[in-house]
């Protein structure tokens, strides 16, 4: 069992530890779409995983990413803050687009944001707090309301994953 030396800097404040009930492992991720990519929404009101090649230059305590699906590898159930940003555009008539996060293939309702998508590129962003247990997976998804057969082009997409409670 490793021993750690901790410097106590002032009363009740320790360096080297985190919040109560939370361990000291490093967890977090930053992923992004490496090139513009289309996601085809064949059916209306149906969620599709955002397509494209995803790079994960920062990924600690998580694995995956390349296919857009990320798995939590930590042993301790934790709440994570998921922030995402994207730029999207589409050909043809305007439609309402929603972007969100799926956990284990199930939509996290609180993660969803919507915007009108037109031939003029527009930005979106959102956030959610998700509790993750070992081997839980999550992915970023998009749907088009009402109108089937739409192709959404994601010019940019990135996301960060960090422990929700900070110290």
């Amino acid at each position: 069992m490793a021993a750690k030396h901790i410097v106590r800097t002032k009363s009740d404040h320790l360096e080297g530890a985190t919040i109560r009930g939370d361990s000291v492992e490093k967890f977090g991720g930053f992923i992004y779409l490496t090139a513009e990519e289309d996601t085809v929404c064949t059916d209306a009101d149906t969620w599709y995983q955002i397509q494209g090649t995803v790079a994960a230059p920062v990924l600690e305590g998580f694995s995956g990413g390349a296919g857009g699906v990320i798995s939590y590898d930590g042993l301790e159930t934790k709440t994570f803050e998921m922030d995402w940003h994207c730029s999207l555009v589409k050909a043809g008539a305007a439609v309402t687009v929603e972007v969100g996060i799926e956990k284990n293939g199930v939509l996290v309702a609180s993660s969803v944001m919507s915007t009108v998508a037109t031939t003029l590129q527009i930005g979106m962003s959102g956030t959610a707090a998700l509790e993750l247990a070992t081997s839980d997976t999550f992915a970023y998804v998009v749907r088009v309301l009402t109108t089937a057969g739409q192709t959404i082009t994601f010019a940019h997409y990135n996301a960060t994953i960090r422990p929700f409670f900070r110290n």
Partner: protein, 171 residues
């Protein structure tokens, strides 16, 4: 004077402490979101109205909620802290158009640095904003909206807010 302690860490033991000198270890943060689309009526232009609707506040640590006035999220920690408040919204009007602004209110007063505006129409648009606010116990945070015209009804299709400690330990 800095005293040194040797602490043996085992998996079953979690240390209470903090990286940030002067900051204590308590969990402190909240994620709040609108559970369903809701309208906020801005009876008077240039006047802030709390964003209406049913909010879920989970997780919530170191905060409580209040029906007000002003309604909002109450900072319940006894230590003054700088907190980061991030918010995201999807907004739309049922008719017409208007320039609307969303802001964080602290104890009912606009935090000027938090304000964002957009031109809203009948096509849903996205907004987001952030700010860093010094908070003291019992401070109330309210997310609010103001319109540029009397009587504008703004539909928030989605709204989320996170409040977290601003300073994070470097590693």
């Amino acid at each position: 004077m800095t005293a040194r302690y040797h602490v043996k860490r085992v998996p079953e033991v979690h240390l209470d402490g903090a990286y940030i000198e002067g900051d204590s270890f308590d969990k402190c943060g909240v994620f709040a979101y609108l559970t369903a689309a809701a309208d906020t009526t801005c009876t008077l232009k240039d006047t802030y109205y709390p964003i209406a609707g049913t909010f879920t506040n989970s997780p919530i640590e170191g905060f409580t909620t209040t029906a007000g006035p002003p309604p909002g999220i109450v900072y319940a920690c006894d230590e003054d802290r700088t907190m980061e408040i991030d918010w995201h919204a999807s907004v739309v009007l049922s008719t017409g158009n208007d320039t609307v602004h969303v802001a964080v209110l602290k104890n009912g007063t606009e935090v000027a640095s938090s304000v964002m505006g957009t031109y809203v129409t009948t096509l849903v648009l996205q907004m987001s904003g952030t700010c860093a606010i010094e908070m003291t116990e019992d401070d109330v945070i309210t997310l609010a909206v103001r319109s540029g015209a009397d009587g504008t009804v703004i539909t928030f299709a989605h709204f989320t807010t996170t409040i977290n400690k601003f300073f994070i330990a470097a590693s």
